[in-house]
Amino acid sequence: MIETFKLIAGILILLGAFLFLASTLGVIRLPDVYTRNHAASKSTTLGVTSILIGTCIYFYAQHGHFNSRLILAIFFILLTAPVAGHLISRAAYNTNVKLWKNSSEDDLEKARMAKRKE
């Protein structure tokens, strides 16, 4: 039983590490701030979550010690990570960082132009 839990914990931690690696690759590969933000804000959120869950399961199985701070940390990260991603992309947009050249449409730009005309 303990072995099974340890196996699950190991898989979760490896999965989290893999997600981190993938999101790092995404930050390097993707062309502009906004698409990079996609990679950074989503994959790392799930990566941290799965590593923390794995750690929690490991300590519970191995030492019989349930650490509630890990659960709290998951909760905080799930709440704050999307807000951070939103704020970074918003700050980038407000300081006129250009979209990638292949971007097809930009409704926010249109809305701002319409407002300036009024």
Binding site: H38, S43, G85, S89, N102
Partner: protein, 158 residues
């Protein structure tokens, strides 16, 4: 909702005082009996019976985790593809939600949906500007997802 929960707690404590036993078990039994009483008297409250709303919140949380998983798979697919074939862009989404916390929840959910990221919320809280990773074929699918989110949030706040 909070009034009904408080009333239920009060009933549970009353049960503990009636039984003259002050333990978790008695509290639980009192709470369940209080729930039954609240179900019987549900027509006297202005709002719905509160467990329905608790159920809606739980559904929202489950939806959140499902979307988190799906969005990660979608992002991984884009990143690990040998060639970049995406067409990103920003589109506007009208929302029917009015309260601040509802819009915040919707924005957080959208940020964690497959391939979308909220860039700006208009000053009158009516339009969300969303950056999408792949605008070409997903516009309609994304709108569908928004409808499920909006509906789930409305289910909670109704």
């Amino acid at each position: 909702m909070s009034f009904q929960i408080l009333l239920n707690l009060l009933l549970a404590f009353t049960w503990m005082f009636l039984k003259n036993e002050y333990s978790g078990n008695t509290f639980t039994i009192g709470y369940i009996l209080g729930l039954l009483i609240l179900i019987v008297f549900r027509h006297f409250f202005n709002e719905r019976f509160y467990l329905l709303r608790v159920y809606a919140v739980m559904k929202l949380v489950l939806l959140f985790f499902r979307e988190l998983l799906l969005s990660n798979i979608a992002v991984l697919k884009v990143i690990l593809k040998p060639r970049l074939t995406i067409t990103p862009g920003i589109f506007a989404l009208e929302t029917k939600l009015t309260k601040d916390w509802e819009i915040t929840t919707l924005a957080n959910l959208i940020t964690l949906t497959p391939g979308t990221l909220v860039v700006n919320v208009s000053a009158d809280n009516k339009t969300l500007y969303i950056h999408a990773m792949d605008l070409a074929d997903k516009q309609e699918a994304i709108d569908n997802i928004k409808n499920t989110f909006e509906k789930a949030i409305m289910e909670v706040s109704r």
